[in-house]
């Protein structure tokens, strides 16, 4: 099991940026009002009428080399099951070092607990045996792939093997496990 490496990929060809993932996450994870663990990013390039648009559903990248874990003084931010990056709110002092360190702005302080908060890849679902994240489950365009990157037969591995993909800010050297399929 230690070989499992959870990852996520967004099919940017089909994602319409509707934010069902955002609302689905908010209700599944009961996040604080006005804070969300995932969000929609859009980029427009070109000049009217020759324009191109990129739409991405974004969240914590669950980096292999996560600066948030490195800087966390209390061990609250840590590598959890399946190579995910998790926050243990019991250990979090609310110092915000992780928020500063994260190149992806993926974290916030939950005003209710005072602890850092971010996407968990729905670890509570995985623990209970549900194999989908809530964003993946709700997504009407089925643009979210989630699964084991170490398994060459998983849907996400097959997608990454056959299609061009990229990660955000590769220069940050964080080795994200969150990909975008072109």
């Amino acid at each position: 099991m230690s070989d499992v490496r959870f990852g996520m990929a967004i099919d940017t060809r089909t994602c319409v940026g509707c934010a069902a993932c955002v609302i689905g996450c908010k209700t599944e994870n009961a996040t604080a009002p006005e804070f969300s663990r995932d969000w929609i990013y859009t980029l427009l390039e070109g000049e009217y009428p020759d324009v191109r648009m990129t739409i991405r559903s974004e969240r914590c990248n669950h980096c292999e080399d996560a600066p948030c874990v490195t800087v966390c003084p209390t061990g609250s931010s840590h590598y959890g099951p399946g190579g995910t990056v998790q926050v243990n709110p019991d250990k979090c002092s609310g110092c915000k070092a992780c928020i500063t360190a994260c190149p992806y702005d993926a974290r916030h302080i939950d005003p209710r607990s005072g602890a850092a908060d971010k996407c968990t890849f729905c670890m509570h679902r995985l623990e209970s045996g549900i194999t989908t994240t809530s964003c993946q489950e709700i997504c009407p365009t089925q643009s979210i792939y989630f699964g084991d990157l170490n398994d060459p037969d998983s849907k996400i591995s097959r997608a990454l093997a056959t299609r061009e993909a990229y990660v955000l800010k590769p220069d940050a050297g964080t080795s994200p496990k969150h990909f975008y399929l072109k």
């Binding site: 060809r13 908010k26 209700t27 739409i55 509570h124 045996g129 365009t141």
Partner: protein
């Protein structure tokens, strides 16, 4: 939702199945850190169907400690297929909206003052019943009109049928889908229905004309749109705005607004001229093809270029793509199509183009749906409606309208030069008329003329503030409704169930209708005790197991042939029994029998003005959800999209606040931030519909953004069926700081000033109640 064994992780190939369960236990057991479980899984999970929009997706509502914690898609439901759009996922935002109507209320002050007294249901219903009886006695039942939107409105429609009024209107017809349905009906003898019979998932080429899938989030269509893209379908988008769909397209055609018919004619010119149409199909099923062939000959791409601003090359190229992929080419019929007043003809042109491509009844085009046969509840029979529908100035107007025209009913409430008004009372169910009908000033005038106005609603929308009696309805999560068995690929039936009991003193629509029915002497039409008994009666009459329906939310039947090539019958309910390229019905009524370009129908914006276009955001169903705090976390105000070059000319940058003022000098009540963008035609500006709300009790959305409806003082009525073309207004920008300076100096905002004036003069002629008119 049931916990699944972790062994199911094998579907992701986590590890060898044999080793998995033991290792899994170890894995989580060894994990020293606590995993936070948000605890949103329900103790009960209740299947039902959604009402955040009108697509009616199957949902699973999780209930814990008496609260709905989250809403998921019902995997068994043919429409949601287990997935939801953001609105459906955000349904708790309406259920727990703190601004909800909580008690029945009766107006104690001027109309529009929003000052009410909370009363008992008994008092409120008695007052409504007295007014219904009084109107019936004095003017006849037809003087009472119903405006309705939403599935719960069926109970009110039933009440009105029983009461004897034919004036049952829904803005979803003449302000939305009507021209499309008439245009397709004239061509095929069938409408496209809702949910539409579009076989998007199997399309090889999908043509969207102003249809913004991905922003319009009708769930199944968007699911299939993505599936089509995954399968390599070519999407062609015609839109003055670079929509989300346009960003997924092989061709975006930024057409000059109002010229779509010219493009459609040119496409037909190419497809017929180059012999690319489906000859066999046209010969087998078509009527009047030769006339169409001759008719479109002058409409070359070069000709179309001068109208549409689109180069001839992409017009030819896209026509050839469509033909190459036929019959799996779907030229989407759209849904909100009341744009320019020639909308039935534009819809006809879309229908004809599909016919040339042979897509109607074919895989990847329009499938042939079937519905589950659920017998109607047996009533003693509705009264015969002697009365004429009061929705048009004279009986010969809009001859092909096949539903009641909401705008016409509103107009018939205002006394005309030749006599008294024909409509004296309104019931308004879930339909905020001032933002739904064009020219709200006219709507407010009509309201002033009313003897009686009762609204059934969930939120204190604008229309509520103008009502005499307000009846707070339970949300879709708190009530059982009529069963839903739409025509679809697979026949099925879905049930809406009470997930949690009604909050506050709200009541379900069925209860309100039944109570009123009993009070106005129509108990025979309400023999059932509640909607569950009603639904059970119908479902059991169909020979279906009600327990299964309640447990699963849906019962899905057998799918028959859905394409002609599979054996679905090619039946066309037109006069000729064929697909009518040439419409005798239109010719007989003096209309163009084939869509024709009329230069005078296209209009350029005046200097310094831009055509006002409006549409949807994926997280909102226009004004119905803009007060939803959960959804507002994603979008809480609209912006004004302005082409970058135009913005530069005006010195506007993104975030600058502007008011919009239209060609008639009407200024928006509120301002909105400019969105400078390369995504829109320089002739047009765009806003998302549903903002600029004036109802102060909508505390989340009040005053945010711009209401396009109040700027739609002009509309062009479709002469064929009475649709109100609303994209015919032009607006200019006023910087917020300039407007607010002048208003601070004492010159009031025009529309606000007008509204105050209306309110000051707004004592109903009858007083608040019971006074003879």
């Amino acid at each position: 939702m049931k916990r699944r064994d972790f062994i199911r992780m094998s579907s992701y190939g986590v590890a060898g199945t044999a080793a998995l369960s033991g290792v899994t236990t170890d894995w989580f057991g060894l994990y020293g850190n606590r995993t936070v479980n948000p605890g949103t899984d329900g103790e009960q999970v209740v299947p039902s169907f959604c009402e955040l929009c009108f697509w009616k997706c199957g949902i699973l509502a999780h209930v814990k400690d008496g609260r709905v914690t989250k809403i998921k898609g019902n995997p068994k439901d043919p429409l949601s297929q287990g997935h939801l759009c953001p609105r459906g996922a955000g349904g708790t935002g309406i259920l727990y909206d703190p601004d909800r109507l909580k008690k029945p209320m009766v107006r104690r002050d001027m109309r529009g003052s929003q000052e009410f007294e909370e009363v008992s249901w008994d008092a409120a219903l008695n007052e409504v019943a007295e007014n219904f009886e009084r109107i019936k006695t004095r003017y006849g039942p037809e003087a009472l009109a119903l405006f309705s939107h939403g599935y719960g409105g069926n109970w009110m429609k039933h009440l009105f049928h029983a009461y004897g009024s034919p004036n049952i209107a829904a803005p979803s017809y003449a302000q939305c889908r009507g021209p499309r349905d008439v245009g397709f009906d004239l061509t095929y003898g069938w409408g496209v229905g809702s949910p539409e019979r579009t076989d998007i998932k199997n399309s090889r080429c999908l043509v969207l004309i102003g249809s913004h899938l991905g922003e319009n989030m009708h769930n199944t269509q968007v699911q299939e749109f993505a599936e089509a893209i995954r399968n390599g379908a070519k999407v062609i988008t015609v839109d003055p705005r670079f929509s989300i769909a346009a960003s997924k397209s092989v061709e975006w055609m930024p057409i000059k607004p109002g010229t779509d018919i010219a493009l459609l004619l040119a496409w037909m010119n190419v497809i017929i001229g180059e012999g690319l149409y489906d000859r066999d199909y046209v010969e087998a099923y078509g009527y009047g093809f030769e006339q169409l062939q001759a008719h479109v000959q002058p409409y070359t791409p070069e000709w179309a270029y001068t109208r549409t601003g689109l180069d001839p090359d992409p017009i030819r190229r896209t026509a050839r793509i469509m033909a190459a992929e036929r019959p799996a080419t779907l030229v989407h019929p759209g849904r909100h199509v009341t744009w320019y007043g020639n909308d039935t003809q534009r819809s006809r042109a879309i229908a004809l183009l599909n016919a040339l491509l042979g897509s109607w009844g074919r895989k990847g085009g329009f499938f042939v749906p079937s519905a589950m046969d659920i017998p109607p509840y047996e009533y003693p029979g509705y009264l015969d409606h002697e009365a004429q529908v009061a929705d048009r100035p004279d009986p010969s107007a809009y001859p092909l309208a096949d539903q009641v025209l909401a705008q016409g009913v509103c107009d018939a409430t205002i006394p005309s030069g030749i006599g008294d008004s024909r409509i004296k009372g309104w019931m308004v169910y879930g339909s905020n008329l001032p933002t739904t009908l064009p020219n709200p000033e006219q709507t407010y005038r009509a309201i002033q003329e009313l003897d009686f106005l009762v609204t059934v609603d969930i939120l204190p929308a604008e229309i509520v503030g103008w009502s005499d009696v307000v009846l707070p309805e339970a949300t879709y999560l708190e009530r059982c409704d009529e069963v839903f068995a739409p025509p679809w690929r697979t026949p099925y039936v879905a049930v809406r169930q009470e997930v949690v009991p009604p909050m506050y003193d709200s009541k379900p629509g069925w209860w309100i209708a039944r109570e009123l029915g009993h009070r106005v002497g129509l108990p025979d039409f309400f023999p059932w005790q509640d909607s569950v008994e009603y639904a059970k009666t119908r479902v059991e009459a169909a020979g279906l197991d009600c327990d299964v329906l309640q447990r699963d939310g849906v019962i899905v039947g057998e799918q028959g042939p859905i394409y002609f090539e599979e054996g679905a019958a090619p039946v066309f309910w037109t006069d000729s029994g064929k697909i009518e390229f040439y419409s005798q019905k239109l010719a007989a009524q003096g209309f163009d029998p084939m869509p024709t370009w009329h230069d005078e129908e296209a209009e350029d914006p005046p200097q310094g003005y831009y055509r006002l276009l409006f549409g949807r955001s994926p997280v909102h169903t226009f004004g119905r959800t803009t007060n939803n705090r959960l959804l507002s976390e994603v979008m809480d105000e609209n912006g004004v999209w302005v082409n970058r070059k135009i913005a530069q000319r005006w010195g506007l940058t993104s975030g600058d606040r502007v008011y919009l003022q239209n060609q008639d000098g009407v200024r928006s009540t509120f301002s909105a931030p400019v969105k400078v963008t390369d995504r829109i035609h320089p002739d047009a500006v765009y806003v998302v519909h549903g903002y600029g709300r004036k109802a102060k009790k909508l505390r989340q959305v009040y005053g945010k953004g711009i209401d396009d409806a109040e700027l739609i003082t002009r509309f062009k009525t479709d002469p064929i069926m009475g649709g109100t073309g609303m994209n015919v207004n032009f607006v200019t920008f006023l910087r917020a700081e300039d407007v607010e300076e002048t208003s601070a100096a004492g010159s009031s905002l025009e529309s606000e000033g007008q509204e105050e004036e209306v309110m000051a003069g707004l004592v109903s002629p009858a007083g608040r109640k019971g006074v003879a008119v």
